[in-house]
Symmetry: C2
Subunit: 454 residues, 2 copies
C-alpha cells in the first residue's frame, strides 16, 4: 500500500464547537427584513416558528459556539466522517492532481443533513417542543429530521412534495421507519394545502407549497415548531463540523492545505460547511485556496440570478432575505438533483459571493452524471445527484492539471450517497437523461415579481 | 460523552492475512463428491469454473493466507469497518448487557460481500480471466461482484432472478453503474435459461436457475470463469477479515471478549467471517463465547434440515456437498431476507455444527422487522432484512439480561444496510408483512429427492 486512502479520526476528535463565519467577514451581511415593515424582524417575530436557541445562533456574533454534549453523543454515531484521497480516480484520470473528498454519506440518513437536524431537534426538545414540522423535496432533509427526532423522542411531521412522495416511496418509508408522519403535499391537513387542492386536485406539489404547509402546521401551538434544512445562518453554522474535521484530517495526513475547494450549492449549507473553516485560515493568512461553488444550470442563482431582497418561499410567508435569486416563484426544470432545485441561495453565502470570497460555475446534469459514473467505477461510492456537480468540476480541474502538469491539491464535499437516486442513474445509463436550456426570458419574467424594497 | 460508541481502526490495521479455520478443527470436514464417481473432485474438475488460486484456497491447510497488496488496496476504500457499541439500543432496552455490532454496510455495495468479491475478481484478473459470471437473488452479491470487477478492469455478467430484476430495479442499476451486464433469469442468453422459458415463458426465475445460467455461461471459454458469493470455504476464508478486525477492536476498546456472538445465516459466510477468529481464541483457551446462528424460519437448514450430501443448486450441476439441507429443490417461502432463502448451508459450518461448536435458532420475519425498527430508531442505521434475524436474537438475549441482571457482552454482525429493502419495511410498517408456517410434510417431501450416497 502506498499513501493513505482513508484519513479517519477518532470519535474523541469530533469538533467541540461550531465555527461562526460572520464575525470574520470584512463586512456584516445585510439583515433580513419583515415584508410589512421592511425592518429587521426581532426574536419575537421568529419565536412562534423557531426554537429560541436557534434564533440566537442565527444572529450570533461569537466566533465559536459550543456543541452540546447530547448533540456530540448523537454525532458520534457517524462522525468524524472519513476524508478520502481519491487515488483510484486520480489514476483513472491520469492526473498529477491530488484529489480529496470529505464523505458525509456515512450518516444514517446518507447525507450531511443530520449535522444540523440533530442540534435543531435537540434544542427544540430541551425547550419543551413536542413536535417538529418541515418540508422535504427529494427526501434528504425529511429523512435527517426524522432520524434526529427519533433520537430525542419528539414527533416529526413532514410535508413531502407529492411528485417525490409518489416517485420516491423508499425515502418516505425511511422517514416512517424512524417514526415520522409523512404527508403528500399539497395535503388536506392544512388550509394552505387544501386551498391548492381545491384549485388543482391533481397538483404535483412544490417545495414552496410544502414549506407553506409545514409553517402553517407549526403555527398551531406552543409545543410545535418549524425547522429548515438549509439557507439560514444557523444551518450553515452547524455544518462547519465538516470543514473543521477536514482541516484536522489534512494535518493528520501531512498534506498541505488545498489549492482548490469545490462544493455543490442548492441552499448552500454543505458547501459552506466545508469551506468556512478553510476560509478562516485563508483570511488569517495560513492558507490560500481558490473556492468554487458549482450550481445546476437549471437553477443558476449565483451565475445568472440577481442579488436582491426576495422571499425564501413561493407563497411569500417568510421574511425578505437579500440573496442571489431567480425570483421566488421561479420553478427550476426537473433535474435529478432535487436538493439543488431552489430559486434562491443562502443570504450569508450570497453576501460573501458579492465580497468576492469565492467563485461560481454552473453545470448541466449529463456532464455531472458522466463524472459520477467515472467516480463510482474508480472509487466505489455512488454519489447522490447533488455532489455530482462538484465532481464534474473536480474532474475538469484534474484534467487541466493533466495538461499543465500542476500537482494541485483539490478538496471536495461528497455530501451524500445515491442509494435512493438510482432511477436517475438508470435514465443516464439508458441515454434518456436530458439537459435543459434555461432562457434569459424565463429568468427575466420571474424577476418582474421581485418584492419592491427601496 | 461517556464510553466510546464507534471503535475505529486506522487503514494500516487492516488484517494482512485471512484466517483458515479448517486446520484448527478437531476433525476435518467431509470432502465434496463428484456426483458421477462419488469421489472427491480434483482441481482439474473445478478448473473450468474457478480461478486456480481460489481452488487452492478451497482446500488449503495453512492456518493463514496472505492478502495480496492489490486486494488490500481496494479493501481500504472501506476497511477497517467500524465496531459500534450500541449505547442507545441498550438504553432503549434498559438492559445491563453491553451490545456491540460490527458494521459491514459501509462498503460500496453496502454489505460484507465485497470482502470476497474483491479477491475473487483479483485472482481471476491475475490469471488472465477477462469476464466473470455469477447469479444474484436480491442483488447484494451481484452488486459486490460488479464493483470488484470494475476495480480490476474485467467484465462482469450477472444473472439476476427475474422476480428481483423486476422488483428491485435499483440494485440492477447499481450493477450497471459499475459497468456490469445484467440479465433477467431465466434468459435467452443460455440454453439452461431458454429451456426454462420454452416451458414457462412467464417464469419468475429462481436462484437455482440463475446459478445454472451463470455456470453455463462461464463454461464457454478459457477467458471466462464463474464465482460464488457464499457457501464455499474460500468465501468464508475471505470474510474472516471481519472477525480479525473485531478482535483488534475489542482489544482497543479495553473490552473483554464477548460472552455471546450472534450472526444470521443463509449460506453462512458473514456469520463465519465474524466468529472464526473468536472461535480460534476459544479453542486456544483465550476466550469462551457462546456462538449462535440465526436462520429464517422459512429456510431452517440447521434447525430442521438433515445433514447429508446434496447439490448446491436445483439443477444438480454442482459437486455433492455434505451440509445441512432442506433438499436441493426446496423453495423457501418469499420472505424479504432474500440472502437467507437458501436450501442448504456452508459445508464447513455444517460440519462445525455437528461438532457442537455453535448453536442455532430460527426466527419469523415479523419479529425480525420489529427488532429492526427498534434498532433503527435507537442507532440510526436501517439494517438489511438478513441481519435483522441476528438483531432479533440479540434483543432476546438483552431482555433476558434485563431480567437476570447479567452484564453479558454481546457481539453481532450487522452485515449490511437496508437502503434497497425499504419496500420490505413499508410492508412491515403498514401491517401487511406475513409470517410463513413451514410444515414438516413440505420438508420431508423435498428430502425424498436427496441424492443417494452410500
Amino acid at each position: 500500500m502506498t499513501e493513505r486512502t482513508k484519513i479517519t479520526l477518532d470519535e474523541s476528535e469530533i469538533p467541540r464547537q461550531w465555527y461562526n463565519m460572520v464575525p470574520d467577514l470584512p463586512a456584516p451581511p445585510p439583515p433580513p427584513l419583515h415584508p410589512g415593515t421592511l425592518q429587521p424582524p426581532g426574536p419575537q417575530d421568529l419565536a412562534p416558528l423557531f426554537a429560541t436557541e436557534l434564533i440566537r445562533q442565527e444572529v450570533a456574533t461569537d466566533s465559536y459556539i459550543d456543541i452540546p454534549a447530547e448533540v456530540l453523543d448523537v454525532y458520534r454515531l457517524w462522525r468524524p466522517t472519513p476524508l478520502y484521497r481519491a487515488h483510484r480516480l486520480e489514476k483513472a484520470l491520469n492526473t498529477p492532481a491530488r484529489i480529496y473528498y470529505k464523505y458525509e454519506g456515512v450518516s444514517p440518513a446518507g447525507s450531511h443533513k443530520p449535522n444540523t437536524a440533530v442540534p435543531q431537534a435537540y434544542y427544540n426538545a430541551t425547550e419543551g417542543v413536542k413536535r417538529l414540522t418541515s418540508e422535504t423535496g427529494a427526501g434528504q432533509w425529511g429523512s435527517a429530521l426524522a432520524f434526529a427526532c427519533a433520537q430525542y423522542g419528539i414527533d416529526c411531521e413532514i410535508w413531502m412534495v407529492r411528485a417525490s412522495y409518489d416517485q420516491k416511496p423508499y425515502r418516505r418509508t425511511m422517514m416512517e421507519t424512524w417514526g415520522a408522519t409523512v404527508h403528500a403535499s399539497p395535503s388536506r391537513a392544512t388550509k394552505a394545502g387544501a386551498d391548492v387542492l381545491a384549485l388543482h386536485p391533481d397538483s404535483p406539489g412544490s417545495l414552496g407549497i410544502a414549506i407553506s404547509e409545514a409553517v402553517e402546521a407549526a403555527g398551531g401551538g406552543a409545543d410545535t415548531k418549524y425547522t429548515l434544512g438549509s439557507v439560514l445562518n444557523h444551518v450553515l453554522l452547524h455544518q462547519t463540523v465538516i470543514g473543521e474535521e477536514a482541516l484536522a484530517q489534512f494535518a493528520a495526513a501531512g498534506e498541505s492545505t488545498p489549492d482548490l475547494i469545490v462544493g455543490c450549492t442548492g441552499g448552500g449549507s454543505n458547501f459552506a460547511g466545508l469551506f468556512f473553516p478553510f476560509l478562516r485560515e485563508k483570511l488569517a493568512g495560513r492558507a490560500n485556496p481558490v473556492i468554487r461553488a458549482v450550481e445546476p444550470a437549471a437553477a443558476p442563482s449565483f451565475t445568472r440570478g440577481v442579488y436582491a431582497y426576495d422571499f425564501a418561499d413561493i407563497a411569500g410567508f417568510t421574511p425578505l432575505l437579500k440573496m442571489h435569486t431567480l425570483g421566488h416563484d421561479f420553478i427550476p426544470d426537473p433535474v435529478h438533483a432535487g436538493g439543488l432545485r431552489y430559486h434562491g441561495m443562502s443570504p450569508l453565502l450570497s453576501h460573501m459571493y458579492e465580497l468576492g470570497l469565492f467563485e461560481a460555475v454552473a453545470k448541466q446534469q449529463r456532464e455531472c452524471f458522466a463524472a459520477a459514473v467515472t467516480f463510482a467505477r474508480a472509487e466505489g461510492i455512488i454519489p447522490a445527484p447533488e455532489p455530482t456537480h462538484a465532481l464534474a468540476a473536480v474532474i475538469d480541474e484534474a484534467k487541466r492539471c493533466t495538461e499543465s502538469g500542476e500537482q494541485k491539491v483539490i478538496l471536495t464535499a461528497l455530501c451524500g450517497h445515491g442509494h435512493f437516486d438510482m432511477a436517475a442513474y438508470e435514465r443516464y445509463l439508458s441515454g434518456e437523461m436530458e439537459d435543459f436550456e434555461l432562457s434569459q426570458e424565463r429568468i427575466d419574467e420571474a424577476l418582474t415579481r421581485l418584492p419592491q424594497v427601496p
